[in-house]
């Protein structure tokens, strides 16, 4: 695993960090890489990469299914394609293609879903993505990465490039991401990172919700004297059950995701803990199986009670019922 200093990515959005800075800076480390996007080069901050590596970029146009098919063909010929589109469309529009080309045929393609969760704000529900984790989890041989900040996104892309199989990287939070990893991130696919110790409850969070959960844990500690462990679940598949085992003593498990509570992190955790005795109940925080009233990111996160204050409040209230 390569160890990068993540200082220069702190405070950046994930797409900007990955494609505006990291990839063009390090392209020689990854021979065979070829970036493809579905008319998303501007949205993904690819202009510098394209200017410097015009022979390593191909425009697909607004055709996400063909994006994955072309990537599949190129992967079978020895290239390492990075296929980029809006999360909603690369996961849903091209779902069957992801299953057949990547899962079944095992072509090594790295899918990148831009603006997953609620980040596309005023574009509305057609552009929100609250189901990518759910549907892609169901594909055998698929690896799903959901980095917490820009620095971890860099680690995730590096890991995906070195991993011998297909993967999906889910980007969230845009430029409003809280920085979780300031300099180093001990990233390994399938090994969650405990970023805050706490003996009372355990919060499993992913993507933009990781930084938010750390703040929620601080509020719980200060205001209510409740100590919450916070786990950065950066890999949704393969799911790290060891870290879950180590949190067994908690009063309560909480999951926090910018995703439906059906099929995402909460479900992945529940899939595991329901098969064994000795785990606490799970409180799933996220989009409660509903579409959203559109608005800006803060408005949306408030609507789904995904802010530090509301998470802390809801956890506190839940604990009273135990």
């Amino acid at each position: 695993m390569t160890d990068f200093n993540l200082k220069k990515y702190a405070g950046q959005g994930q797409a900007v960090a990955l494609f505006g800075t990291f990839l063009p800076d390090n392209i020689e480390k990854y021979p065979g890489v070829h970036v493809l996007s579905a008319d998303m080069s501007a949205a993904a901050s690819l202009s510098r990469y394209i200017y410097q590596n015009p022979d390593k970029y191909t425009e697909i146009g607004i055709a996400e299914q063909n994006l994955v098919g072309i990537a599949s063909g190129m992967a079978s010929e020895g290239f390492t394609p990075i296929a980029i589109a809006q999360a909603a469309f690369i996961s849903m529009r091209a779902f069957e293609m992801n299953r057949q080309y990547l899962g079944y045929m095992k072509n090594k393609v790295i899918l990148v879903g831009l603006n997953s969760g609620l980040y596309l704000q005023y574009f509305g529900n057609t552009h929100y993505c609250i189901e990518d984790i759910a549907i892609l989890r169901s594909i055998p041989n698929m690896t799903i990465l959901s980095p917490a900040d820009a620095g971890e996104a860099v680690m995730a892309l590096d890991a995906a490039l070195q991993y011998d199989g297909p993967s999906y990287i889910r980007l969230t939070g845009g430029s409003q991401l809280r920085t979780v990893y300031n300099e180093h991130c001990n990233f390994a696919i399938g090994k969650d990172i405990v970023i805050r110790e706490g003996s009372d409850i355990c919060i499993f969070a992913t993507g933009a919700c990781v930084g938010i959960s750390v703040e929620a844990a601080n509020i719980l500690s200060k205001k209510n004297g409740i100590e919450a462990k916070v786990v950065d679940v950066h890999t949704l598949k393969p799911f790290d059950t060891e870290t879950v085992d180590q949190a067994r003593g908690s009063l309560l498990f909480v999951t926090a995701e910018e995703h439906s509570i059906i099929g995402g992190l909460g479900s992945a955790l529940s899939d595991y803990t329901s098969t064994k005795r000795g785990f606490p109940a799970i409180m799933k925080i996220g989009v409660q199986d509903t579409f959203s009233k559109p608005g800006n990111y803060d408005y949306l996160m408030q609507q789904h009670r995904l802010t530090p204050e509301l998470i802390a409040e809801d956890i506190f209230n839940q604990i009273q019922t135990l």
């Binding site: 191909t58 146009g61 055709a63 063909g73 020895g78």
Partner: protein, 275 residues
């Protein structure tokens, strides 16, 4: 084309048809996609005899043949068998439990199979990506894709054709098995794709038409791909060609042979001798 060559290819076509019937019969009531397999026999015979370079020691330089019309895999297996790329033992495992040789093929390039087919239109998109990649790598090979005409209903077909034309993939030849039938009836009844030649031309493909059961016409069409654009050949064919009770029948899209029908089919095929 010399008469000798024509006879060779017609005899090969007959042998492939016999293999299809015999292998399909072994599958018993599990049946096979006889109709769509029989319609592409001359296409496969001509391609694999005259155009496809495949050397197991130099696979990187091979011509790639993607059967996007995945349910015709049995025809592909029989052709690969006749060409010594798969063995008789392989062919005998057709439709057996756990076999790689079932109704739809599984990608295995050392056994001549480029793609895991079955979900229509996905083969074309993948093949266009392959053609694009081969061009980037500077290879001098050719990529052939076989499509069904019902398959043209799928939207991904048209996305892929647009990409191929936009990137001037002159190393790509798409062959359409225009047998005018799909599962629910004729293509004219279900989803009319006419005017097909106009559509393909307007999508930037240099398009030719050929009798899909004439090895000479196929040979001619395949010999003249465009230098500047991707090429398409609309091969006029008959679903179930070669077996009288299957020809032109939608219901033989997938069916099973009982002993009576099997013997009738064998008689019809073996009765034809090309000298």
């Amino acid at each position: 084309m010399t008469i000798k060559k024509k006879t060779e290819l017609e005899n090969l076509s007959k042998d492939i048809r016999l293999d299809i019937i015999k292998t399909g019969y072994l599958a018993g009531i599990k049946g096979a996609h006889f109709g769509g397999c029989l319609s592409i026999v001359e296409i496969l015979a001509t391609l694999y005899s005259e155009f496809v370079h495949y050397n197991i020691k130099e696979l990187e330089y091979r011509d790639r043949v993607v059967l996007s019309k995945g349910h015709a895999a049995l025809a592909l297996y029989c052709t690969l068998y006749e060409k010594g790329i798969i063995t008789k033992e392989d062919l005998k495992t057709f439709e057996q439990d756990g076999s790689d040789f079932i109704a739809h093929s599984k990608r295995n390039i050392v056994k001549g199979q480029e793609f895991s087919g079955g979900s229509l239109s996905l083969g074309l998109s993948h093949a266009v990506g392959v053609a694009y990649a081969c061009k980037l790598k500077g290879l001098a090979n050719r990529i052939y894709v076989i499509l069904g005409d019902g398959e043209l209903n799928e939207g991904l077909i048209w996305e892929s054709l647009m990409f191929a034309s936009h990137h001037k993939l002159n190393n790509l030849t798409v062959i359409i098995d225009h047998n005018h039938l799909q599962a629910d009836g004729t293509i004219e009844e279900v989803m009319d794709t006419a005017p097909l030649k106009k559509k393909l031309s307007s999508f930037g493909f240099d398009t030719q038409e050929a009798d899909g059961h004439s090895v000479e016409e196929l040979y001619l069409a395949l010999s003249h791909p465009s230098d500047t654009q991707p090429s398409a050949i609309i091969a006029e064919t008959i679903k179930g060609k070669g077996i009288s009770f299957m020809e032109g029948k939608a219901k033989w899209h997938h069916g099973d042979l009982n002993e009576l029908r099997y013997n009738k089919a064998l008689k019809e095929l073996e009765g034809k001798k090309y000298d």
